[in-house]
């Protein structure tokens, strides 16, 4: 199994600013994903982080708002840009091995 370290674990940000979340995996994983969990809701996939190329975004999510990088097989970042209160959520990264995914502990973002 893989261990995923995600930071920060929580942050409070002013509207209009940006937050960058980092995700480090302790071993190489095939794929990495970013999810959003809004209060009281399920997890929604934001995008697939592709190594060395542009991320693949799900419907309703765009690169300008959620730029993602993945410079190697064990590290990825998600930036949430131009923050508004509606962006207050938990953001999780995930890495997949052969048959299952592993999740970070999440980043709880509050926008004020």
């Amino acid at each position: 199994s893989a261990v995923i370290s995600q930071k920060p674990s929580r942050d409070i940000c002013q509207r209009g600013t940006s937050l960058t979340i980092q995700c480090q995996v302790d071993s190489q994983v095939t794929m990495m994903f970013w999810y959003r969990q809004q209060p009281g809701q399920s997890l929604t996939l934001i995008a697939t982080a592709n190594q060395g190329s542009e991320a693949t975004y799900e419907s309703g999510f765009v690169i300008d708002k959620f730029p993602i990088s993945r410079p190697n097989l064990t590290f990825s970042t998600l930036t949430v840009s131009n923050l508004s209160p509606e962006d207050s959520s938990i953001y999780l990264c995930s890495g997949t091995g052969d048959t299952e995914a592993f999740f970070g502990q999440g980043t709880r973002l509050t926008v004020v």
Binding site: T30, M31, F33, Y35, Q41, S42, L43, T44, L45, T48, L92, S94, T96, T99, E100, A101, F103, G104, Q105, G106
Partner: protein, 115 residues
């Protein structure tokens, strides 16, 4: 396209009684199916997974699930509920062309265990 439907948003059981959390899936490919649990303010924990091996899957903490292709179901059960089982449970479907492992989460079932 893949999707998963959790049929109950809330389930309440008494301690010591059986638990049944229902999940139906839709997939164009042979799916992998998972159940995750999320305790309040905690991360996601994998309970069990089905990946085309035995259709009855046993997981941690006494949970098990049965993959029924004819019914496109993957219901989660436990013979006897414990207070510590109170949490949010997510059914997840994965799999697709070229071995993609994009996870699609159900909307979740909140399990309440009554003393």
């Amino acid at each position: 396209a893949q999707s998963v439907t959790q049929l109950d948003s809330h389930v309440s059981v008494s301690e010591g009684t059986p638990v049944l959390l229902r999940c139906n899936y839709s997939s164009s490919y042979s799916p992998s199916l998972f159940w995750y649990v999320q305790h309040p303010n905690k991360g996601l924990q994998l309970l069990l997974k089905y990946t085309s091996a035995a259709t009855l899957v046993k997981g941690i903490n006494g949970f098990e699930a049965e993959f029924k292709k004819s019914e496109t179901s993957f219901h989660l059960t436990k013979p006897s509920a414990h207070m510590s089982d109170a949490a949010e449970y997510f059914c997840v479907v994965s799999g697709g062309a070229s071995g993609t492992y994009k996870y699609i989460f159900g909307t979740g079932t909140r399990l309440k265990v009554l003393a």
